[in-house]
């Protein structure tokens, strides 16, 4: 018995020794990103960074859920295994508050291509006067519509959500629903879409966000009106089961002739209008999302690259970020991948890039610029508690859509939960 146990221990130790990692001697930078066209394209160009700088870039592109779990553990555990991290602007406030990111102000000031970065997305990462990340992508909310369906019904593209309800009532059939919208709860899911309606009706999350009054104001008459529109669109004019649609279901429905309208982010829109991915691309048009009494407010989502506080090699990380957002690198990615959401300005002047996206859809790049011009930076509030707030509000909105509570009760519950999260009793 004793022999056997000793054998087991020795065997496991021997195996352990043989599987121990081998550490390379060259300078390395470890980059963790989640999957999207830009990050996939960046991974393919990693060798170029090593050729240019002599620093090896270990770029890991993983699923978003896996990413969330890994970086939370890395940050809380103080592990130094990540030098460059994918930093969605919506998460950055919380990371800064927790001390997980290090300021990049000096790096940005010394970056030769800093002036090439669009000012809006770059400033989205300025908190308390410091830069905390450098943007590589700014996606905006857009609407796709089936021109053939509108022509057949003799209708024009709706300019407001009220008009959208009228058009939806006219074109909705059992075979093809009028519209598909994200409804599944989450700060990046239904809370990417609903605020477009909410802000069009003059609604807000807080009493006066810009003035610094963060008293919850989700339970307002404007938001109730917007919620009723959202519920009517999903329950009356969307496909069966739309109460739990996410972007993947909206995309699939649009590509398969199951919906006539979709309001989505530019990444999804680019797939809906891509002739290689959808046989209905040729009859699909792009427009700005509908507006309302308070105007239009397209959604905006900014993603960037940051350096964790625990990074082992922050200087190499800064060099990597400088390379990753440079005109040359981003132009290559825009040409190699379906990536029209770049934030490196001069890329938009490249004739090959212009020609490529004009081939996908002639209005695509122009509409994206218009949507970004209209979008407000704090479309979703840029505060550390937003992930929790967005989740809480999103769950109540989804409950109202699925008939689990009335719209009035849902907004009341959302406001109460916002107060609880913010500690306002």
């Amino acid at each position: 018995m004793k022999h056997l146990f000793t054998t087991a221990l020795v065997a496991s130790m021997a195996l352990g020794a043989s599987f121990a990692p081998v550490h390379a001697q060259t300078e390395e930078v470890n980059v963790v990103l989640f999957g999207m066209p830009y990050t996939n394209g960046l991974q393919d160009l990693a060798d170029q960074f090593e050729e240019d700088t002599g620093i090896r870039a270990n770029i890991e592109v993983i699923g978003q859920d896996v990413f969330e779990n890994r970086i939370t553990l890395t940050f809380t555990g103080g592990s130094d295994d990540i030098d460059v991290v994918h930093a969605p602007v919506i998460q950055v406030q919380r990371w800064i508050q927790a001390g997980w990111l290090q300021p990049m102000t000096e790096y940005v000031a010394a970056m030769p291509g800093a002036d090439d970065i669009l000012a809006g997305p770059l400033n989205a990462y300025v908190v308390d006067g410091e830069n905390w990340a450098v943007p590589f992508m700014a996606g905006a909310g857009l609407m796709t519509y089936r021109q053939d369906v509108l022509d057949e019904a003799g209708l024009a593209v709706p300019e407001t959500w009220e008009e959208m309800l009228e058009v939806a009532a006219a074109i909705h059939t059992d075979d093809r629903a009028a519209i598909g919208l994200r409804a599944v709860p989450g700060q990046g899911f239904n809370m990417f879409i609903f605020p477009m309606i909410m802000r069009a009706y003059g609604g807000n999350f807080f009493a006066d966000y810009e003035g610094g009054d963060l008293t919850p104001a989700i339970n307002s008459p404007e938001n109730l009106e917007a919620l009723n529109v959202y519920i009517e669109l999903i329950n009356e004019y969307a496909p069966q089961g739309a109460g739990n649609f996410n972007f993947a279901e909206v995309l699939a429905a649009a590509q398969n002739d199951q919906i006539a309208f979709a309001v989505e982010g530019t990444g999804v829109v680019s797939r809906i209008v891509d002739p290689d991915l959808s046989q209905y691309a040729g009859v699909t048009g792009i427009a700005l999302p509908p507006g309302g009494p308070a105007g239009r407010s397209p959604a905006i989502a900014v993603h960037g690259l940051g350096i964790p506080t625990s990074a082992a090699n922050p200087d190499a990380a800064a060099r990597f970020i400088e390379w990753a957002v440079s005109v040359d690198t981003v132009t290559q990615i825009a040409l190699n991948e379906a990536f029209p959401d770049f934030t490196t300005g001069p890329v938009a002047d490249n004739p090959e890039v212009i020609a490529k996206y004009a081939d996908v859809h002639p209005d695509f790049l122009a509409m994206r610029v218009q949507a970004l011009d209209l979008a407000i930076g704090h479309y979703r509030p840029l505060i550390p508690d937003w992930p929790s707030l967005g989740q809480a509000v999103g769950e109540n909105i989804n409950a109202a859509v699925n008939g689990l509570m009335s719209p009035e009760d849902a907004l009341e519950a959302a406001e109460q939960e916002m107060r609880d999260i913010l500690g306002l009793y």
Partner: protein, 276 residues
Amino acid sequence: MIDNSSAFRVKKALGLFMMFSLLAFAAMPTLWVLILSIREQSAVFQPIWESPLAVTLENFLSIGRSDFPRALLNSFITAGTATVLAMIVGVPAGFALAKARLSGKFIASWILLLLRMAPPVGFVIPLFITYVNAGLIDTYTGLIFAYMTLTLPLITWSMWNSFSQIPDELIEAAIMDGASLTKAFALVAVPAARPGVVAAAILGFLVAWNDFFFALIITRSSTTTAPVAVMNFISYDSVDWASIAVASIALTLPILPLMAIANRYIVQSLSGAVKG
């Protein structure tokens, strides 16, 4: 006597209907995954009868070109090694617990059960920090040791039960014939408990093979296992359903022959193969 009454026929028809309904219900997800795996990207959500010719092998080829085969290999290495190590330690441990006159058996049984029942999420932060400090993140060693916290209690408990069913007289006779305890264990007890040994090994392997949680927190690019790699097909603004289907098939296929071979051993083990 053959019962030809109409009541019997109705009962039989009802039974068959229920059986096939349950079979269809159980087989439907598998069938769906198989269809998804061969559908063209643009036809993934179309009913197969609407575009029956929109099939392709590109999804399989694309998975072959990705990092997924490496992740499958990682799963084999870690789950296989963790099972072998747990067998090396757990089978003798189960024998000792079943046959030795130990005073703390009751406590040992509860500790083993607690190890099986404790939710891993409860100790994720200390485990992660320990692993970071020990340099075990993204190493096979780290993942294998983590898997052994799953497989070792399972195998020990299972083998304890199997060896308990072997009569003491069998071991005693071997020892009286001059065999050492090690020989009696290796040449008499283990062969007698063979169904239990095979069942324990397979169940241990399956537990490690299917693990998502430990792999999620311990692995990085070098040691990512297949269950985690499947999640990488879900990106920011798209879900690659066809690749997920192919990956799911790739994850399931290696287990099928194993299960087929081991099926009778598992049944024998669960029903108690050795009677005193």
